[in-house]
């Protein structure tokens, strides 16, 4: 295509669509470029041949006068509502109000669905946390041949110390896994995991920090009382599905309250079992012979009375129970 005139401009020029300074520029360009001028002329003739129908359609005599008279005769005609429908409506607050109402109705319709979707995502996040912690516990058990449990002379340490034992064994580095996403970010979750010995040192020197370090969203199994009356770690030989970790119970200080976990608004709790599966329980009963996940069969937040009695206490409560 010619540099003097683009194809688009050429058609516009021939159809009389170019005006003013732009038209003058194109005419100057055509004056200097005979080849393009000839092409434009051929285009003009081609369009003329395709479109000129030879009709001139002269208007009938007195059409304007008769039209004015026609309108004068009919101007009293009652206008229908269609006559007043504006082609382009000006801004009106009433229209804005209608649009806003529709928007609000849409939002109100969508809101429950969005809320449910967020809950499902949080629920999935909680299950993911427990699965990851389950992997760490599985690795720990492989290395140590037992679940995280303090030495027999230190059973006064809180249940949450299990996380620091996992960290000591090199199988847990991510402290955010200890925060259930369903109850919002936990302000007390440990910002970083430290060694178990260091934790014990902080226990003696900085009680507030210590309390913060052992307060998070999941409850841990504090084992059961053996026939020798000594307490020990849970025994996965007793059953293939021993509860190991779960959403923390509803509690006030060291008292375990009735009802389901507070993490999910009392609807139930996720429980990590010793076979690494995570199940949702709508009640605290996890098996026919273990009626309460958070209390032993004597209804106390202490180690189970036998190998089948699992007790999971909040992370700040001691292994030996309360």
């Amino acid at each position: 295509m010619s540099d003097a005139m683009k194809a688009d401009e050429m058609i516009d020029y021939v159809l009389g669509q170019v005006e003013g300074g732009e038209r003058e520029r194109l005419e100057r360009a055509l004056g200097e470029d005979a080849e393009t001028a000839a092409r434009v002329e051929r285009l003009r003739q081609a369009i003329h041949r395709l479109c000129d129908d030879g009709n001139s359609f002269e208007h009938p005599p007195d059409l304007a006068r008769r039209t004015v008279a026609f309108v004068a005769r009919n101007r009293r005609r009652s206008a229908s509502f269609v006559d007043f429908v504006p082609v382009r409506a000006p801004f009106r607050w009433a229209d804005f109000a209608v649009a806003a109402s529709i928007f609000v109705a849409g939002v109100l319709t969508l809101l429950p669905a969005v809320q449910r979707s967020r809950e499902r995502m949080s629920q999935a996040g909680c299950v993911f946390n427990l699965q990851q912690l389950g992997n760490s516990l599985g690795q720990y058990t492989t290395i140590k041949q037992l679940m995280p449990y303090p030495p027999s002379n230190q059973t006064d340490v809180p249940a949450g110390a299990f996380a620091y034992m996992l960290h000591d064994a090199g199988v847990l580095d991510d402290a955010s896994l200890l925060d259930c996403p369903c109850n919002g970010p936990c302000p007390h979750v440990a910002p970083e995991l430290i060694g178990f010995d260091q934790l014990q040192k902080i226990r003696r020197t900085d009680r507030d920090r210590y309390n913060r370090l052992v307060s998070f969203d999941y409850a841990y199994n504090i084992g059961y009382r053996h026939t020798s009356q000594a307490t020990g770690s849970p025994d996965d030989q007793a059953s293939s599905q021993i509860p190991v970790l779960a959403d923390q119970p509803n509690h006030a200080g060291l008292q375990i309250r009735e009802g389901n976990s507070i993490n999910h608004g009392g609807r139930g709790q996720n429980v990590l079992l010793s076979d690494s599966s995570v199940r949702w329980f709508r009640t605290r009963q996890v098996s026919p012979i273990d009626p309460d996940l958070y209390l032993n069969n004597n209804r106390l937040p202490r180690p189970g009375i036998d190998a089948h009695d699992s007790v999971l206490v909040p992370s700040h409560m001691p292994f030996r129970g309360w």
Partner: protein
């Protein structure tokens, strides 16, 4: 001095733009102003309607009904908007209504181009198509035969393309005015116009092929 509207002479009214006349008519509905507007568009609008409807007597009725609508809808004419596209939009709607009542429905084809290549490359292809042959495919026809072919072929175009071609080629309206009438973007007006010319050229080639055979 502010001159009363009723005292405007015909010469004074002729000095005013369409938009000024319409604004004044909207205010007081004076018959002289309306008459001036009707006279201004008598030739131009009748020619459009006669070609659009293909029936001079129907075009006369549509012309009168169009100005009746202008009178009835004068309150809806927005200040600052051009008058010609508004008038043509009313006239086109009236023409479509009349054709429908007369049992002649304008064909609305779904066979319309919607996009594709860039406007520039499409225009380049169109020019090659139009000027590629020295005499053009209609050169064998007598002038009267060619004119009859144009009338028949334009009538066979899809409605939107035909309307755009009439407004741009026969009525000499600018793209922006056509866009305003048809309530479409200027780019779409150009696309439709190019599509109309391309279809006509294809029909013309078919004529020559038939003639050669």
């Amino acid at each position: 001095m502010v001159k009363a509207i009723g005292s405007d002479s015909a010469e004074d009214l002729r000095q005013l733009s369409d938009e000024e006349l319409m604004a004044r008519y909207r205010e007081d509905g004076h018959a002289d102003i309306f008459s001036e507007l009707v006279h201004r568009y008598e030739r131009e609008l009748y020619r459009y309607l006669a070609r659009y409807t293909g029936d001079p007597s129907l075009a006369e009725d549509v012309f009168q009904n169009t100005f009746l609508q202008v009178h009835l809808k004068r309150g809806l004419f927005e200040k600052g908007r051009p008058f010609r596209p508004w008038l043509y939009a009313i006239a086109t709607h009236q023409a479509v209504d009349s054709l429908r009542k007369a049992g002649r429905h304008p064909t609305v084809s779904l066979d319309q181009r919607v996009g594709g290549g860039s406007q520039e490359s499409e225009a380049g292809n169109l020019i090659d198509l139009l000027v590629g042959e020295e005499d053009g495919p209609l050169s064998q026809l007598e002038e009267s035969e060619r004119q009859q072919w144009v009338r028949d072929s334009v009538a066979r175009l899809p409605e939107t393309l035909r309307q755009t071609l009439l407004l741009a080629y026969h009525q000499d309206l600018k793209y922006r005015e056509i866009a305003e009438i048809q309530k479409i973007p200027v780019g779409t007006v150009k696309s439709r116009l190019h599509a109309a010319l391309e279809k006509l050229q294809q029909m013309a080639r078919a004529v020559r092929q038939d003639g050669d055979e």
